[in-house]
Symmetry: C2
Subunit: 394 residues, 2 copies
């Protein structure tokens, strides 16, 4: 394995470029270091694209791993090279922020199966010289976490002060705590679940079918054929985006307000602001995300079921754990409602784990974990500071 | 206008045949009886396909109008000629049912813009000799109701014992009560709202974009070009179908159960039963429904806003009404949550209308109004019987 240092940021590089030659550092693992996937095959070679912020202390005790969600990336607190926009969690991670980069060494990797530089369906299959497409084995949350643990091995980081993430990131947090309890001093799973619900699988399946219905998807071989299933991916994103919000947030933000017009046009243009907004969400998404990666990410979430993986008992997953947990949910999140977090808390409690649980009052839906929610910031700041003190950070 | 009697039922006729030559009776309106649409143009000629059940009494006082939902039709209590399946509300309408066809004369019309014989985008535009496609003006709920009132005029029915319907059917009920209060003795709007919410518009827009993204949609001219946007319409139906259910219902019915397999296949086939079910819902829908009609129906619902139509006050819509209202909602309906029904009730109360309100405990989601819900049946039976007694029915 070799570490390639970051190239100068190519702001607004194409997503395709970032998949092949990411602007962030990359760790490569050769055929001597295969990753055994849950699908039953070895992945080798492969690479992980990541970002770090702050400085690892001499005791190597201040490392924080941030796990990103479905369409996130490693650029948690620095400009996205694809969009040129700020990192996706700059309100949470940075100097003086709850995850204070002046105190902690923050690591964030693009997940396995992603499209920002870590090996995924858009990467070149060394066996064919073409993009993997659907020839990449299906990736699980466990596979993502195993890959991250190999990166940490290479970085010489034995244990993490905390692992934190929301939504699919929260699933990785739970998997980390279950698979590598000795490496996880504390864990903060946010707006997530220990398994993906039938309704969530259903919404994901709608998105996948929208992509696969696009004739430019070409059975996943669109890169080789020089096309892109833009319309299908856009519809998938639109459908998903509605589920990230809440009726209250949509009502407050858009209501039934018309878009740049006084009266309905009696047609099928975007009469309402909400329509215009959704179309924009869909169209901008396809410029930054790979359609096949979207299939892999949604599938990874659908397959996640920690209880099933541990013999039908969530408590088994955390048996004997000394990790400190802070579980968080939002009142208006209907994708991962508080009941899912309570299930996690019950499993942890049954394992006699150290757990605190905070349900945050917010009407902003699932996306709340990415937004300015003072109670979220206060809770994480307090929990992380306490974990740091327990671990002897100054 | 002329009435054509029902042809013998052609069970499993194609949807296209039913749009052009419906198996049910049809009332046609010539150029001498145009329908002034909200879009500002006259529609003429046009036709309404409908079904009736039971017998109109001598006083013409026992007529019940059933208004169907987004993808419903006039075959409320008799076999669908397209699917060969029982009518969509046979548990509610029929001999000995709450809407008892031995006591009431039940009328149900395919709505304007529909695709089961009433004039819609699949009908032939007399100006071109081709299917209207998007050349049909956008239809509103108000337009649907005006067309129904013209049918009742022709049938010699001055006033209805009740108008009843769920979802988009409930919108028609509210519009009937607002537009023709003297013709509506009682009204039963179920699982509906006085306006379509931003979230609901958003989900509709996803469906429309899925249809329009299908290259076989051809700008709405697919009939003339001999193709059909099957994949797009199927995705639209899948997305909508999730919103008709509830997390609890999906969990109980499917959970994370795998489809005919012992373990996940690590692929993109329908591993989970919920995926297989959804794909089936999408595929069977395209055999019975017209894609352009789906655009028109969703648009009609999006445009519905009774408060806005009455100067910003829902009470104005019902001012001076002597109609008796029974408003119903279901606890697990997140498409038209109880709050929407409460808004209707508040508007009616502010207009000093006679209103009762029942929220039914059910975990089956929006679709509850179509399912076996004993409290729904009891409530409607009781309310309708009382209305009948007040009107002097034996």
């Amino acid at each position: 394995m070799t570490r390639q240092d970051a190239k100068p940021a190519k702001i607004s590089a194409s997503a395709r470029n970032e998949a092949l030659e990411p602007s962030s550092p990359v760790m490569t693992f050769g055929r001597d270091k295969p990753l055994r996937l849950d699908a039953g095959v070895d992945l080798a070679p492969f690479q992980i694209a990541y970002q770090t912020y702050g400085t690892l202390n001499a005791q190597r005790s201040n490392a924080v791993l941030v796990c990103h969600a479905l369409t996130g990336d490693q650029h948690v607190a620095s400009l996205s090279p694809v969009t040129g926009k700020p990192g996706w969690w700059e309100n949470m991670v940075g100097p003086g922020r709850p995850i204070d980069t002046e105190r902690y060494f923050v690591i964030c990797c693009n997940v396995l199966g992603g499209c920002l530089g870590t090996t995924g369906p858009a990467s070149i299959d060394p066996g064919t010289g073409e993009a993997y497409g659907l020839d990449l084995p299906v990736i699980t949350i466990h596979d993502m976490v195993r890959a991250q643990s190999m990166l940490l091995d290479e970085m010489g980081i034995e244990s993490l002060l905390t692992v934190i993430g929301g939504s699919m990131g929260g699933m990785q947090v739970l998997q980390w705590a279950a698979s590598f309890p000795e490496r996880v001093f504390s864990a903060i799973p946010i707006a997530t679940g220990a398994r993906h619900s039938a309704q969530n699988i259903a919404f994901h399946e709608v998105g996948r079918q929208a992509i696969m219905a696009d004739p430019d998807w070409r059975g996943g071989r669109y890169v080789a054929e020089g096309v892109s299933p833009r319309k299908g991916l856009s519809v998938a994103r639109m459908a998903a985006h509605v589920t990230y919000l809440s009726e209250a947030a949509l009502h407050r933000k858009f209501g039934r307000t018309l878009q740049d017009r006084e009266a309905p046009t009696f047609g099928f243009d975007a009469d309402f602001q909400i329509e215009s907004y959704l179309r924009h969400q869909g169209m901008t998404f396809v410029d930054r995300f790979d359609a096949n990666s979207y299939l892999y990410m949604t599938r990874a979430m659908d397959y996640f079921d920690l209880e099933a993986d541990y013999g039908g008992s969530l408590a088994n997953a955390f048996a004997g754990s000394s990790t400190r947990f802070c579980v968080m949910s939002f009142t208006s999140d209907w994708l991962f409602p508080t009941a899912e977090s309570r299930t996690i808390v019950h499993g942890l409690s049954a394992a006699a784990a150290n757990v605190s649980f905070v349900e945050i009052e917010s009407d902003k839906g699932h996306d709340s974990f990415l937004l300015d929610e003072p109670e979220l910031f206060r809770t994480i700041d307090g929990f992380l500071s306490a974990a740091g003190r327990l671990r002897g950070l100054s």
